[in-house]
Symmetry: C3
Subunit: 428 residues, 3 copies
């Protein structure tokens, strides 16, 4: 495991895990960060690559190297006009794919002056890029929320100051909900009167079953429900960086994407959505305020190209409140799902020292995910196609459901969680 | 000497000097930083180890690893209740000695989940830990001020941003008093009318004699006194990090402890005390204001677990005042004994480059201390017991005294500075 | 070229390029930073050396090691009095050449306690030091502006946060004027009604000719002028770090010096001057406000020994204004010649990655300068005298001039740009 982890935490250009992740569509930034054609370009770093995102005169998003091929000056100080960015130092110009379209001093050398450029698409108010080999570009992402009308989806991103894997593992490992998030579920106004909270409070002893499938893992958490039934909370991990949260009552469904900025930072994308109706004004207001799984930011950082650093962060001990902790209004002293996760995961160090960890039987979910990612990394090197590239394998949902005690949740899931259009959501 | 110094400045776990220092009781933090049972735990770093101090339900101080053995999350975000700290990530619980007392998911593995923990005692308003091998724990520290009633002692700590050794060497090397502290002695209201200051001003040419003893060094500084006598100022260095300052008149006695935070920072503990009476309200007010050998702090840093960074620090050139320097109200432009020492010692770099230093005959005191520390380090490696562990060897005092010119100060010291209860203090 | 650059960017003590640069007089700080005899000493770093500048009791500037030879304490906290700096730790004293003039504890060891000290001269309101071998000290610098009355010259310095070479290359490579500075020339009030600006706007296609001479390079930029003439803008690069800017109309002449602070920072000195008359009050006011080639500073940094960091700097994206950029009031969004240059040159990284650069034919000027510097470095190692040490070779001017189309600018320059006293300036 220790050897596996040394590989999995490295995602820079040329690294084995970096090559694997570059075979999938990568969420890069919010579409609203490059809102206008020919508007300001913004810097963005993904898997260690310093890139520049912009929208060209025709409204197409582009993601190119931040630096000019000539002398290495930043194109952030260039001009975005006439379908390209012109470097301010000597006037070289590049289009959305990084092709050089003008060298004023020597037009004949254009072709050899090209810079890195990645094809982009837009889904769910996000710009996604494909950063892998040109001939291997997959179909657009199949995760449900990326294929709904904008009205149905709310997306935010926040900086998390640790390796993407130790952040994602928090999304897979739902057993931690019973500790750091223990008193937090009561703080959400959309959780009022939700029946399932009673089951959770009455039975703190969750039993987990985990199932491997083509596109990832399904994690089943069992608690006592009614006398004849169990209450199952079903979580999904989808290759290579998606997690889906089991829903409560009428609350919007939720999920995350965990994308490496570099090996010591990641973007924690948080998504809420309804599959069959728009988010209400009240819901949207709640989410925009940074509640639920979202975050309020350090003022001025949630701007195009900004750091999107949470207001509660490691420099202020996540605004820890020892009085509230003593009064059991928060388990750890930190408020907010995201800040609670970040406080613990970032405290493990920018990259957790896996030499020191002592895994428990309850860590089976993250151990399986680590192994699957590593097998995919090794497989890619041996010429195998990465798992989960077919949109079909991403067509899964999370759920909360009461099932008769004798029923296998896996059997139920096969019928109900690989969804098609119009299929109902299971939540209580 | 250069080779010796390479060893002496390194005190992390496993380092030869680190192993020596871990054989003594280590001042860790103020008792007031963990004032209440089950109150907030605080982070503290000692000799490169990231630790957590807390007071359990029974009021006992504990010092344990900051990080959970399971996934490495910080226990700073845990809950201090029911005689232990519970990790907020997955609920593992640890007592004041680092023993794991609960693993909710797998109670059977408790024993192998233990983390580092060090036994603690409290003396002089400070928490002290023993960080060495379990079977080698020495008797509690014998230094005088650590064994007086709280009413007789005032203790403060401040961050010094350099290696502990170059800070401690300033405490041993009293010849620097004639320069950087030259005009400072006049600034202390408790020095008014003190006879000894006349001797110091009249005779700037101090002559030093140094004597090695079981527990450290005694340094004798000779100046002309009355026609028939010498005025002797006698300083003590006690293994491995204590220094005692010669007193003036009725002024409280003073001393320091120099404890490595890591190799580039140390805690400078400053102590004032009377051996036979409480500090007066006026004295205590003076010391609490950061005067004498104490320091005012950057506001907000003198809180539990805070940095205790002096207001005058390297980022503001120690509030240097060139006008006051020109007017000879301060020798170097910096005010305050501590800031004067810190400004020079920190300016030598986080770890002084000993390849570059050119020692003078007047450096004999620090050379002897370095050699004694190094011999103890080598001796420990060869199975010898470190010096100065017996409290008796720490029963020494500093003094200021007029002696007939023909009298040997060493003879006098043997009779008067290895003290017992009720022995008088020699100060003028 | 890549191998050459690895050598050229390193200027610390003992480095080949560092040894070359140390053969020339080095601008160190403003004379006004050490205005008074026995006034406050200031820290200054040049080519990686941490130094202390001060003016002694007789008014002579001194440049010595910042650190005492004894224990390594900073002499910044020493006393500047009686023709030397006395260390505040143990009282050692040093004169302007670093000779030790007092060791209170051991006068007999004075000689072996000397520290580094460099001879200084003052020209153009600047202190210059000679940091090379004692027997190789050259004649004072011959560049024109360093030999004019103070009334004729205005000098400022600013921190540039990149290697000196990539800063200097901007001064040699005038082709970038057509891009980042494109709209800036119109913003200078002293450019109003200048005829040459019409030529520049009408002919954007500059053609360069470059000529090597004993002391550096002359760069000729040709544009169409009147029907029968060309408008030539003639730039000078003088060994090892001087550049001269072609003048406009009655505007003061301009130039720069690019001096390494360390390998990742440099001082960009900016000079304006008239060769035959004082700067007017209006001109001086304009320059002191940080206009033209000068910079406004982060408040509080333009003080003796300060950082002289420009107000527009990399931490604030050089105060980029995307609206002004869109409105074509600034090409890159950044305002001010210096900030425009710094924004691009600093964006290339503290030391440009020369492995990545792809030079164009239009980079011939900087390629020639790189090769000449490298040849001089290699030559020095082989015992050759560095070029451009004779003041005569520095007696060159920049110019802007209309010449008949058939006339060779090189022929013209030989007669008109190697100037003597009273020779006219060519500017239009």
């Amino acid at each position: 495991m220790k050897e596996i982890m040394k590989t999995l935490v490295r995602t820079g250009p040329g690294s084995p895990t970096g090559q694997l992740l570059r075979r999938y569509w990568v969420p890069v930034l919010l579409s609203s960060e490059i809102a206008e054609p020919d508007g300001p370009q913004v810097r963005v770093k993904i898997m260690g690559e310093q890139l520049l995102a912009f929208r060209d005169s025709e409204g197409r998003p582009g993601l190119i190297s931040e630096f000019c091929s000539h002398r290495g000056a930043s194109l952030f100080y260039g001009r975005n006009e006439d379908n390209g960015i012109r470097c301010s130092y000597h006037g070289l110009k590049f289009d959305i794919l990084g092709r050089c379209t003008d060298v004023p001093q020597a037009p004949q050398v254009c072709e050899r002056m090209a810079i890195t450029g990645y094809p982009c698409i837009e889904r769910a108010g996000m710009v996604w890029a494909y950063m892998g080999p040109k001939d291997q570009q997959p179909e657009p992402p199949g995760v449900e929320w990326a294929n709904l009308p904008d009205s149905h989806v709310f997306v935010s991103k926040r900086l998390q100051e640790c390796n993407f894997l130790q952040a994602m593992e928090g999304g897979i490992d739902t057993s931690h909900v019973s500790f750091v998030h223990k008193f937090e579920v009561d703080n959400d106004p959309f959780h009022q009167g939700v029946k399932a909270l009673d089951y959770i409070k009455k039975d703190g002893n969750v039993v987990f079953e985990i199932e491997k499938h083509d596109g990832g893992l399904t994690l089943y958490g069992r608690r006592n429900g009614e006398p004849e039934s169990y209450y199952w909370r079903i979580t999904q991990w989808i290759f290579p960086w998606y997690t889906l949260i089991p829903p409560f009552g009428e609350h919007a469904l939720g999920g995350h994407v965990w994308v490496p900025i570099d090996d010591e930072n990641c973007w924690a994308w948080s998504i809420n959505f309804h599959v069959d109706k728009p988010l209400s004004a009240e819901e949207r207001h709640h989410l925009e305020a940074g509640r639920g799984i979202h975050s309020p930011y350090v003022p001025g950082t949630d701007v195009p190209g900004g750091s999107f650093r949470p207001l509660a962060n490691k420099d202020n001990d996540y605004l820890i409140d020892r009085v509230a902790q003593k009064e059991r209004r928060t388990f750890s002293g930190v408020f907010g799902f995201s800040a609670q996760d970040a406080s613990l995961q970032e405290s493990m160090g920018p990259i957790q020292d896996h030499e020191q960890e002592k895994l428990l039987p309850s860590d089976r979910g993250i151990v399986m995910a680590r192994r699957m990612l590593h097998e995919a990394t090794v497989g890619l090197d041996q010429g195998q196609r990465p798992p989960g590239l077919a949109p079909r394998t991403q067509h899964v949902r999370s759920a909360g459901v009461l099932l008769p005690r004798e029923q296998s949740p896996q059997d139920w899931a096969r019928d109900h969680l690989v969804y098609g259009e119009g299929d109902p959501v299971y939540s209580l």
